[in-house]
Symmetry: C2
Subunit: 200 residues, 2 copies
DNA sequence: ATTGCAATGAGACAATAGTCTCATATATGA
DNA sequence: TCATATATGAGACTATTGTCTCATTGCAAT
C-alpha cells in the first residue's frame, strides 16, 4: 500500500521519508549517482518502501539535493549599515559559490535530473526551484531607490544568469577557467550590470 | 571484435558510425531519451555493434547532439560593412536561440549527460565542447581596436555566460520567463557589458 | 573465384529501475 | 489490552544498460 495522507501515522511516515532523504544526501556527496537499492539499504528500509515515497530515483535525488544548505538572507548580509549594492550582490555570489563547492556532486545530479524532466503542459510544476532571486532581491533592497522599478526588475533577472549554478557550469565545463578567474569575471559583470541599471 | 583503426575497412566503419549517430539524432528530436536498443534498431544494426562504437548510451547521445547544426561565423555575419559590436553579438545570440529552439530536446539530453560525466584527473578531456567562444570572438573581431586586450578577453568570457544554452535554462526553467522577455533581458545585458568593456 | 580477416549478429548474462502482489508487523484509537 | 487500519517487507516480474562469447557475413587483396 502507498502511504496515505491521513493524520493516522504521520510521524512514522515523516520519519521514513526523512531517513530516505538523509541516506540519499549522504551517498550523493561523492558525486556518484547512488542506486535506489543502496539508498534504501542505507536508510534501513526496503526498496518497495522507497518507491512508496518517491515516484522514481531521480525525484528522490532532486529532493535530497534541495535539502542541502542554502544560505538565508539573514546570514548573508551583515547587520550594520548596508554596504554598496555591488558589494552586497557579490556577497550573494560568494554564498552560492561556497554552497556549490561543498555540494558540487549532488548539485550536478540535481541539475541533470531537472534538465530531463519533461514538461507537458504549461501549468505543471516548474522544473526548478528558484532560490537565487529572493537573495538577489534582498541584496538590492536597501538601494531600491537608486533604480527605476523596471530597471531593477531587469537587473535582478540578469544577475540570476551570473550567480547560480549554471554560471559555474559555464566557467568550469565550457570555458575551463579556474576559480579565481571565474570569480574575477563575475565580479566585473556584477559591477557592470548594477552600474548600467543605475543609469537608466 | 571491436572495430580497429586500421585503414582496412574504414568506409564501412564510418558508415556504421554515421548511421548510429543519425538514428540517435532522429529519435532524440522528441526530447525523450531513446533506448540504445531503439537506436540500434533504427540504424539497422545490432545492439552489440552499437556498443562497439560508443562506450555507453550517453556518449552516443552527446556525440549525436554535437552533430546538430551549429551556425558558422561566415553565415552569421553579413558580408558588407560590419555593424556595431553590440548588434553583431546580438546576431550570435539569435543564431544560438534558433539552433536551440530547433533542438531543445536533444540539447537537454546532451547537457544532462555532460553534467554527470565524472571528472577524474585535471588532464582528461573537457566535459563540454565550447562552440560559443569562437563565434563571440568573430563578432567582436572588427572592433577589436575599441577594447584593451585584457578587457576584450574578459568581455568574451562574460558574454559566454549569457549566450549559450545555460542562459536559456536559467530563463526557462528557473525564472520561467517567456521568450520575448528573455530576449529583451539578454539584449540589455549584452549592451551593458560591451559598453562597460569599452570604457576600460 | 577463393580466402583471410575484420565487422557484424545473436544471444547469454549480471545489475539496476520500476511495478505489483501478498503476507507481516506495528502504531494507535477504542 | 485488543482490534484494525496502515506502513512495511519480501519477492516475482519486466525492461534497460552494459559486458562477453562465439558463430557468421562479407569486403578486399590475391
Amino acid at each position: 500500500m502507498a502511504p496515505s495522507r491521513n493524520p493516522g501515522r504521520s510521524n512514522q511516515r515523516r520519519r521514513t521519508r526523512k531517513d530516505l532523504l538523509d541516506a540519499a544526501a549522504r551517498l550523493m556527496r561523492t558525486g556518484e549517482k547512488p542506486s535506489l537499492e543502496a539508498i534504501a539499504e542505507e536508510a534501513l528500509v526496503s526498496r518497495a518502501t522507497a518507491y512508496r515515497y518517491f515516484a522514481n530515483l531521480d525525484d528522490l535525488l532532486v529532493e535530497a539535493a534541495l535539502h542541502m544548505s542554502m544560505p538565508e538572507p539573514g546570514t548573508v548580509f551583515p547587520a550594520g549599515a548596508p554596504e554598496d549594492a555591488v558589494a552586497r550582490v557579490a556577497r550573494v555570489d560568494d554564498a552560492f559559490d561556497e554552497m556549490m563547492a561543498a555540494n558540487e556532486g549532488a548539485l550536478r545530479l540535481m541539475l541533470a535530473s531537472a534538465l530531463q524532466r519533461t514538461r507537458s503542459g504549461p501549468d505543471d510544476p516548474p522544473r526548478r526551484q528558484n532560490r537565487r532571486t529572493p537573495l538577489i532581491e534582498a541584496a538590492l533592497e536597501p538601494w531600491r531607490g537608486q533604480f527605476k522599478p523596471a530597471a531593477l526588475d531587469r537587473l535582478v533577472k540578469a544577475l540570476a544568469l551570473v550567480i547560480g549554478s549554471e554560471g559555474m557550469i559555464v566557467f568550469r565545463d565550457v570555458l575551463t577557467l579556474d576559480d579565481a578567474e571565474a570569480k574575477a569575471i563575475k565580479a566585473w559583470v556584477i559591477a557592470a550590470l548594477v552600474e548600467a541599471a543605475r543609469k537608466e
